[in-house]
């Protein structure tokens, strides 16, 4: 999408925007190797600055870990990237050309920025298979959905993802019957079905057993390179096990960036986490 062209996506103040379907995903431009640009992003709720002039760049294929104490703005950051929250100021670009701030949630998801929520949110009433089918990258218009039939290629794709997340045997179980950890994996599977360019993964191992945590770490590591992944996590051992580069957020802006060792030895980080 070129800067001069009118933006095409739905916003509250652009009532007819939705009439034009976004084609942003076709024009993703990552020639500079950076897939996500957040510059000077600020969000405030009733005077409380959840994000304060935050700048963050994510490279293509990178696995980035975000850490920070409660209230540092991690979830708000994800809300901003996925279109749930509109920042008061700043810019968020997907590649060099796609302005995410001009797009709403479905458009951003279709463009290839997909999100796993902190609280596992799968559709309990649907089976594991149906959950994956719903997430699958395809025409998501109402009429197309009505007459949708699964092709063999798509069946293969679902089987492949089931394999990746290790839930082959549960395909026809209602998602509500899965364990907490399995739901987390299913949600990651739903992300994969969307063939995302960027995966935002919010607390993927909360409430998991050690065994499950290890498998999740394996899973995420196997995905890096194919997708750019941002992981928010409190479990430091887990972060250490997957992270190449860690970003520490504090009071709505980036405190420091670096490898896990660098970050853990940074006196400012220690102060933030432990207090004076």
């Amino acid at each position: 999408m070129n800067g001069s062209e009118p933006q095409t996506d739905q916003r509250q103040d652009k009532p007819f925007g939705f009439m034009v379907q976004p084609r942003a995903s076709n024009r993703l431009d990552v020639t500079h190797g950076t897939i996500l640009y957040l510059e000077d992003v600020s969000v405030s709720f009733d005077g409380f600055k959840a994000l304060n002039g935050l700048c963050l760049y994510i490279d293509v294929g990178e696995l980035r870990c975000l850490i920070g104490p409660n209230g540092a703005g991690k979830t708000t950051l994800m809300d901003v990237i996925t279109g749930k929250t509109r920042p008061d100021s700043g810019s968020v670009f997907f590649g060099q050309t796609i302005d995410l701030l001009q797009m709403d949630e479905p458009a951003i998801a279709q463009a290839g920025v997909c999100r796993k929520f902190q609280k596992p949110s799968v559709f309990d009433g649907l089976t594991v298979f149906e959950n994956l089918e719903l997430a699958m990258k395809t025409d998501k218009g109402a009429w197309a959905t009505l007459f949708h039939r699964l092709g063999s290629e798509q069946l293969d794709r679902i089987a492949e993802v089931l394999q990746t997340i290790g839930l082959q045997e549960y395909a026809s179980r209602p998602a509500g019957a899965l364990s907490h950890g399995q739901k987390q994996w299913l949600e990651i599977g739903m992300l994969l079905m969307q063939e995302p360019k960027v995966m935002l993964v919010d607390e993927p191992v909360a409430g998991m057993t050690h065994h499950e945590i290890d498998r999740t770490a394996e899973l995420l590591l196997s995905l890096q390179g194919k997708h750019s992944i941002i992981v928010v996590e409190h479990d430091m051992a887990f972060v250490r096990s997957i992270a190449r580069k860690v970003t520490v957020l504090h009071e709505g802006s980036v405190l420091t960036e670096g490898t896990m060792d660098e970050v853990q030895n940074d006196p400012r980080v220690i102060q933030v986490y432990l207090g004076d």
């Binding site: 739905q10 509250q12 009532p15 939705f18 996925t82 749930k84 709403d104 949630e105 479905p106 998801a109 279709q110 997909c114 999100r115 929520f117 949110s121 559709f123 309990d124 009433g125 649907l126 089976t127 149906e130 089918e133 719903l134 997430a135 990258k137 998501k140 218009g141 109402a142 009429w143 959905t145 009505l146 007459f147 949708h148 026809s172 209602p174 509500g176 739903m190 969307q194």
Partner: protein, 361 residues
């Protein structure tokens, strides 16, 4: 595909088979047995059955939006009434010069109001095909415009319920006005004929019953098919976790809109079948209470099952017929109690008592 809704599926088939039996057997009996025989259904019974069919259809459409998509529309009766008015306009024009004032074009109430010519929106309603089209298009358009505004702005939950109620309330006030050109307080009535047949004749009554029954069966099968498609699954997902669906890349508002318009058009059809059978349509059909009654049919029957709405509509209306005949005072008490008891003790309705939910199996 999966055993998830198998039992409901079976129960639904039983209910629809019953509907089909009534649709076929009642006209058959009346054709075979002479008038006065115990197996010959009276005109009253035939009309009553036909009326229940249209109510069941109406309940079914509300179950689509409420039971499957979580949109508790408290103004659903408006679409029913609009469909009824559309066919009522056709029936008024069919009266021709048989009215009290004998005007060949203008309906009686317009002559009475001293109107000289037909308002533009009455043009074309002398054609059956046009009126039939309007039966679907008018409610559909209203649902489209209203739904488009509401769903796009993400008005949900009780807010949506309240503004749908305000919608039907506003329409009721509007249709009460004589200036609207829909007969004001009295509405449209004194119909004489439909497609050239006398509207009071037994043959027409039976035909209307059959058409209502077939429409109900058709609508049920179509709705069941829709629910089984991927669209149905998206819609159910919207009901359970609207924002998650949005993050999967679906335009939630378009799905809601699609279903809302579809349901509104079917509700319009129900209204169009209802009016010739009862012989009148007036603004009280728009009253918020009517729309709330539809909700209680669906709630009592069991929402999110389709056939539950049919069961609920027939049961509640049968109860209403019996009670308003015997003890009119008791009816509102019963209806009020039904609301309270069903919401508190029967969240899955009557069919929830009889049919196991597939989820636990």
């Amino acid at each position: 595909m999966n055993g998830h809704s198998f039992t409901n599926h079976k129960a639904g088939s039983v209910v629809i088979a019953l509907v089909a039996a009534v649709t076929v057997l009642v006209p058959l009996c009346n054709a075979v047995f002479p008038d006065g025989s115990a197996l010959h259904f009276s005109a009253y019974t035939v009309s009553l059955l036909g009326k229940y069919m249209t109510f069941a259809l109406l309940g079914l459409t509300l179950d689509l939006v409420w039971g499957y998509c979580g949109i508790l529309a408290l103004g659903h009766g408006a679409f029913f009434a609009l469909g009824g008015y559309a066919i009522g306009m056709y029936l008024m024009r069919q009266i021709g010069n048989r009215g009290v004032y004998g005007d060949p074009v203008l309906p009686d109430f317009m002559v009475f109001l001293n109107w000289k010519e037909l308002p533009w929106y009455w043009l074309g309603f002398d054609q059956f095909w046009f009126a039939s089209l309007m039966v679907l298009i008018v409610p559909g358009s209203l649902a489209f415009v209203f739904g488009w505004l509401a769903f796009r702005s993400r008005v949900t939950g009780v807010y949506l319920s309240i503004i749908t109620q305000a919608l039907t309330y506003a329409l009721m006030l509007a249709f009460f006005r004589n200036e609207m050109g829909f007969g004001g307080n009295n509405g449209l009535t004194d119909f004489k004929s439909i497609l050239g047949f006398t509207i009071q004749s037994e043959a027409v009554r039976l035909a209307l019953l059959m058409i209502s029954g077939l429409s109900l069966i058709g609508a049920f099968l179509l709705s069941r098919w829709i629910i089984k498609t991927k669209l149905g699954r998206v819609v159910t997902a919207v009901r359970d976790q609207e924002s998650r669906v949005r993050f999967l890349g679906y335009r939630v508002e378009m799905f809601k809109l699609w279903l809302f318009v579809f349901a509104a058009m079917l509700a319009g059809l129900a209204g169009a079948l209802y009016v010739p059978q009862v012989g009148i349509i007036n603004p009280s059909e728009f009253s918020p209470l009517n729309s709330l009654e539809i909700v209680v049919w669906v709630a009592l029957g069991g929402r999110g099952t389709l056939y539950g709405a049919i069961v609920g509509a027939v049961l509640v209306n049968y109860g209403k017929t019996v009670l308003t005949g015997l003890l009119p005072e008791i009816w509102l008490f019963t209806l009020g109690a039904a609301f309270v008891l069903v919401t508190m003790f029967l969240p899955r309705g009557l069919v929830g008592l009889l049919v196991r939910d597939g989820k636990e199996s």
